[in-house]
């Protein structure tokens, strides 16, 4: 029984044709994403929404806060106002473009903050364990005692309205969620034998963190965080709707929904537009994160 029977000698010239070049992890992820039409559509849609929001000052046809008393609640298709006007006669297309800036900012920032702080706290709790773990995780459980919406409203309510306070309150909502995912992933990876093997090689804490722990923990945390973006967008819009978020006259989808809600019997289509924008954006984020989850699956 020859030790080499599992790997018969192959001529050097054959190697490329037999195996090709094995792909790195991130190239595999990119390749899997490209195979998934739903994810591509969602990604392109998000790209367009983000571009429109970023370029709003350049492409918006009107001034977002300039209204006209004579042209209030103009229907869709009005000349020079293709998406109509709101209850103060301001151009809807312009306000939707400008509102996207706010909504995307208020939706993405808390998740980003949650991802950064949550990963650090969660990996710390999982890696150190013991009383550090108890302290961090039980503190996070306190935040878990309240439903996300209620917690965001409570914090925003006590801080007062405004963009900054919205960002702070939503960040506080998302940190504990990410901590939980990061902690459980860390505890699971830490107990695997390859970490023990690295320790047996004489490796210190940092090389183990960098090469063995983080590459296996960041993936699941990133995927989880991406699922939270749509929720964050809806919460941010919800806070504005309740008057706890962005203050008028700034354009924000949730706020627009609120101020237009009285006009729904006069012209039902125009007040629905910010809702459609919120729906499309959050659904695109959900589909994208689903695709990301499948593409980033780590095979053991």
């Amino acid at each position: 029984m020859d030790a080499r029977t599992l790997a018969p000698p192959i001529a050097a010239a054959d190697i490329e044709t037999v195996v090709g070049a094995p792909m790195s992890y991130w190239r595999t992820v990119a390749w899997r994403l490209r195979q998934d039409p739903t994810t591509i559509v969602a990604g392109v849609l998000l790209l367009l929404i983000a571009l429109a929001a970023i370029l709003a000052p350049l492409i918006a046809p009107h001034d977002p806060s300039a209204g006209s008393i004579r042209l209030r609640l103009a229907p869709l298709g009005t000349s020079s106002h293709p998406l109509g006007t709101d209850e103060q006669g301001r151009d809807m297309l312009t306000r939707l473009l400008w509102g996207g800036r706010m909504t995307l900012l208020a939706g993405l920032t808390p998740v980003l903050v949650g991802f950064l702080f949550g990963t650090v706290l969660g990996v710390l709790a999982g890696f150190v364990g013991g009383h550090t773990n108890t302290l961090i995780m039980r503190t996070m459980d306190v935040f878990y005692a309240f439903p996300a919406v209620l917690l965001a409203i409570a914090i925003s309510g006590s801080l007062g309205p405004g963009l900054w306070n919205t960002l702070i309150s939503l960040s506080i909502v998302f940190v504990p969620r990410v901590v939980r995912v990061a902690e459980s992933a860390t505890v699971q990876v830490k107990s695997l034998e390859f970490v023990a093997a690295a320790r047996a090689s004489g490796s210190g804490v940092w090389p183990i963190m960098r090469h063995h722990l983080l590459p296996n923990v960041l993936g699941p945390v990133l995927v989880f965080s991406s699922t939270q973006v749509s929720l964050s967008i809806i919460l941010a819009a919800g806070l504005s709707f309740l008057g706890l978020g962005v203050t008028p006259p700034a354009a924000e989808w949730g706020l627009m929904l609120n101020t237009l809600r009285g006009s729904i019997y006069v012209n039902a289509w125009v007040p629905a537009l910010p809702g459609v924008a919120i729906f499309l954006t959050s659904m695109a984020f959900n589909l994208l994160s689903d695709g990301l989850r499948d593409a980033m699956e780590i095979r053991m």
């Binding site: 029984m1 029977t5 190697i15 094995p22």
Partner: protein
């Protein structure tokens, strides 16, 4: 016997069972309890026992991946427990571990060549040199590095992964190799290939091995001396021939009698031992095997039987042989 390479004295590890908000300990799992043995250079010591008897804990204690509660591990004449961080890091080059689970023992996000080279880079070898040495070892364990070097573990079979594990353990040129059930997760045919590879490498590199397994056939094949464990304690040690021909401890007898055999004359009507071992959280007093032992006497419950030397390298911890020690002095 020349001066031992590895010597273990009175090793003990009890794991606390913690619960509640304040993590209070309310029970202990007595995984390894007062285990002593030594391994001579270039010898292979087989450690055999049922699952849950503390074999894997023992492996991790030897390498100080776990801190023992009591006892000493002396490796190359040096007490491992008193070694400082830098010293321990140096000593770890000379003792390596091959793990049981070929799935969990390789980082899914690291290529094979990086996994093998990692140990070298930890000790300051330049990347290029580390990779070259990893390639040579992969070649030696039967994996063409040009084919497999840049692959990820999920692209390999169980046997191939175990070859990678062996390469990773050998890359630092250790003197001692602790193998924790290295072939248990593999098919029989692949087991044989991996075992033969290990035998070749052991001869080539003058390795000293501690080979842990629950499979007596494997143990008989690889080891010179065997140590039989039951519930965290050593019940018998001796050369593999002595144990196979005349096992003394009732547990060893049962173990050898229940091993699958091709020989019809050794076939059994009834299983020699039944039931599961008792819970290590609350082991029986005295001899831990007494609850399943056909020869249990009242005195077995009183104190743990000390090892009785029957021959120069055959010791048994059983009161049945009390008094025979005088016949075969040390």
């Amino acid at each position: 016997m020349s001066a031992p390479l590895l010597s273990v004295r009175g090793l003990r590890k009890h794991f606390p069972i913690r619960s509640g908000l304040l993590l209070r300990t309310h029970a202990w799992v007595r995984a390894v309890d007062d285990v002593s043995f030594s391994v001579a250079p270039e010898e292979t010591l087989g450690v055999v026992g049922e699952s849950g008897c503390g074999k894997s804990t023992l492996a991790r204690l030897i390498l100080r991946l776990l801190e023992p509660d009591a006892g000493a591990v002396t490796f190359l004449g040096e007490d491992l427990r008193s070694a400082g961080r830098a010293r321990l890091k140096r000593l770890r080059r000379d003792m390596q571990l091959v793990f049981q689970d070929p799935h969990a023992s390789l980082n899914p996000r690291m290529t094979i060549e990086d996994a093998v080279a990692f140990g070298l880079t930890v000790h300051g070898t330049a990347r290029r040199e580390a990779r070259a040495r990893a390639w040579r070892l992969l070649e030696r364990v039967g994996l063409d590095p040009r084919l497999y070097g840049r692959r990820y573990p999920h692209e390999l079979s169980g046997g191939q992964r175990q070859r990678v594990n062996i390469a990773r353990a050998l890359v630092l040129d250790p003197k001692l190799l602790v193998l924790d059930e290295p072939v248990s997760g593999l098919d029989k045919s692949v087991q044989a290939q991996v075992l033969n590879l290990l035998q070749e490498l052991k001869a080539e590199r003058a390795l000293t091995c501690v080979f842990i397994s629950h499979d007596l056939n494997v143990i008989e094949y690889v080891s010179g001396r065997v140590l039989v464990m039951y519930l965290g304690q050593v019940v018998e040690t001796g050369s593999v021939d002595a144990l196979a021909e005349s096992p003394k401890h009732p547990y060893t007898q049962a173990l050898f009698a229940s091993a699958p055999t091709m020989d019809p004359s050794r076939r059994l009507e009834r299983p020699p031992i039944t039931g599961d071992p008792p819970n290590p959280v609350n082991p029986p007093s005295g001899c831990r095997f007494r609850t399943r032992c056909a020869y249990a006497m009242p005195r077995c419950a009183e104190a743990v039987p000390p090892p009785i030397l029957l021959a120069s390298d055959h010791a048994v911890a059983c009161y049945l042989y009390d008094g025979e020690a005088a016949l075969a002095p040390v």
